[in-house]
């Protein structure tokens, strides 16, 4: 469909999962571009958070400052929303945030593959959050976890109706949680690709789409951070239900 018309633009081609070393077999264990870019994300995380902090300087270097900034950002987010009880899950949430932020940002590199634009990835991430929150909620509060759906601040006759709405919205969470991230990542990258395709065919006038690419790239730099932030803060807010059910 994208191939119809004049310019030969494949905005969605960048999202195709391919075996890394050629061939056509795609088994569950086959190293693919997904493997490559997830591995690069891990390397970036290691460089930034482990190698960057290896000197343990009292006066931080640039990379250590960045690592400390990310740490403090997530730590404070959890502390503000969940209180001290939430800090037990800090490594888990920090891992999610780091992975999403680095993957999103790596996606802006030309010729890269954006792992967080894949439904498989975001759905697994969102389901992991959903299952974690539900499990923690049930283990910590038992049946009391169901208070999440019973809004005591509402008038009594309204509560059953609200309970139904709350239950539906609870189970829709992983859907919105995953689609939001995937959609944002996919849209921005597809737009860049479309402009890049225009730039290829417009000849002298290609500086228009190139300027547009620069503008979109600037916007995307904001979006990649905001989406990582949104995913993380929603995780923390969902976690709050598990830690303090009925605390509406």
């Amino acid at each position: 469909m994208a191939t119809e018309g004049g310019p030969n633009i494949h905005p969605m081609e960048q999202f195709v999962v391919k075996p890394l070393f050629g061939g056509h077999e795609l088994n569950w264990y086959t190293p693919t571009n997904v493997t490559l870019w997830m591995g690069i994300a891990v390397l970036v995380a290691v460089t930034l958070l482990i190698i960057g902090t290896r000197r343990r300087a009292i006066v931080p270097t640039r990379s250590q400052l960045l690592a400390e900034g990310l740490y403090g950002f997530v730590y404070k987010m959890i502390e503000d929303i969940n209180g001290k009880a939430g800090l037990k899950y800090f490594p888990y949430i920090f891992t999610l945030f780091t992975f999403i932020l680095i993957s999103n940002t790596l996606g802006l590199v030309p010729y890269s593959f954006t792992t967080t634009s894949q439904a498989a990835v975001t759905v697994v991430l969102a389901l992991a959050v959903f299952l974690t929150v539900t499990t923690i909620g049930l283990v910590k509060n038992g049946v009391g976890f169901l208070k999440v759906f019973w809004i005591t601040s509402a008038p009594l006759p309204l509560r059953p109706i609200l309970a139904i709405i709350e239950i539906i919205s609870y189970f829709v969470r992983p859907v919105s949680h995953s689609i939001r991230l995937m959609g944002n990542m996919m849209a921005g990258h597809a737009v860049i690709k479309v402009f890049a395709g225009f730039a290829g065919v417009l000849g002298l006038f290609s500086f228009f789409p190139i300027i547009a690419i620069m503008a979109v790239l600037g916007l995307e730099l904001i979006v990649v951070f905001i989406q990582a932030y949104v995913f993380t803060i929603l995780t923390v807010i969902y976690m709050n239900d598990a830690l303090h059910p009925g605390g509406h």
């Binding site: 469909m1 191939t3 969605m12 081609e13 999202f15 195709v16 999962v17 391919k18 075996p19 061939g23 056509h24 077999e25 795609l26 088994n27 569950w28 264990y29 086959t30 693919t32 997904v34 493997t35 997830m38 591995g39 994300a41 891990v42 995380a45 290691v46 958070l49 482990i50 902090t53 343990r56 300087a57 009292i58 931080p60 250590q64 690592a67 400390e68 740490y71 403090g72 800090f90 490594p91 888990y92 920090f94 891992t95 780091t98 992975f99 792992t115 634009s117 894949q118 439904a119 498989a120 990835v121 697994v124 991430l125 992991a128 995937m182 996919m186």
Partner: protein, 193 residues
């Protein structure tokens, strides 16, 4: 049409039990969203889980404890520095107090020394004054004695002169009647008046 291919991909995924032919994926690429090519899901999910586990392990075992220790060390260092600064400030204040105390002591001592010196000088001066006064008094007494002697000597001389003069005058006026003894007594009485 796209949904048909998706369905085909899904059924092939189900049929092959997690292994899809890459050809199906290639076809999916041309028709719609590659994200909905379910044939690639097991692969992506597998690598995602591996990545997350590795990342979680690295972060929770190495990165996060290290950053936490850096931050707490910095907190500790700042607190320690502040404490040290406070300690030094206290020491400076104590030193200033000691300095002031020493200054006050020195002043007091100086004042005492001055007072003692003054008292001693006063004493010496008093002694010298007393001695001088005694000497002056002695000299005065001596002088007065001598003045008295001179005065009495002078009186005698005046009497002698007066007597001689009186005798001469009487001899000159009435020669031969002069009674030297009477004249002498009379002159002596007159001079004494």
């Amino acid at each position: 049409m796209a949904s048909g291919i998706r369905l085909a991909a899904l059924t092939s995924l189900l049929a092959s039990g997690g292994t899809a032919a890459f050809a199906a994926a290639e076809e999916g690429e041309k028709t719609g969203m590659p994200q909905l090519d379910f044939g690639t899901y097991p692969n992506q999910i597998f690598w995602l889980v591996v990545t997350l586990l590795v990342l979680y392990f690295l972060l929770s075992r190495i990165a996060l404890p290290r950053i936490a220790s850096i931050l707490s060390e910095r907190q500790g260092a700042i607190a320690r520095d502040l404490e040290q600064a406070e300690e030094l400030r206290r020491k400076a204040v104590a030193a200033e107090e000691a300095y002031k105390q020493a200054l006050a002591d020195a002043r007091a001592e100086a004042n005492q020394i001055i007072a003692e010196a003054k008292a001693e000088i006063q004493k010496e001066m008093d002694a010298a004054n007393a001695k001088a006064e005694a000497e002056i008094a002695a000299r005065t007494a001596e002088s007065e004695k001598r003045i008295a002697e001179i005065r009495s000597g002078m009186m005698q001389a005046v009497e002698d002169v007066a007597r001689d003069t009186a005798v001469e005058i009487i001899d000159a006026i009435l020669p031969g009647i002069a009674d030297p003894k009477l004249v002498a007594d009379t002159v002596a009485a007159k001079v004494k008046e």
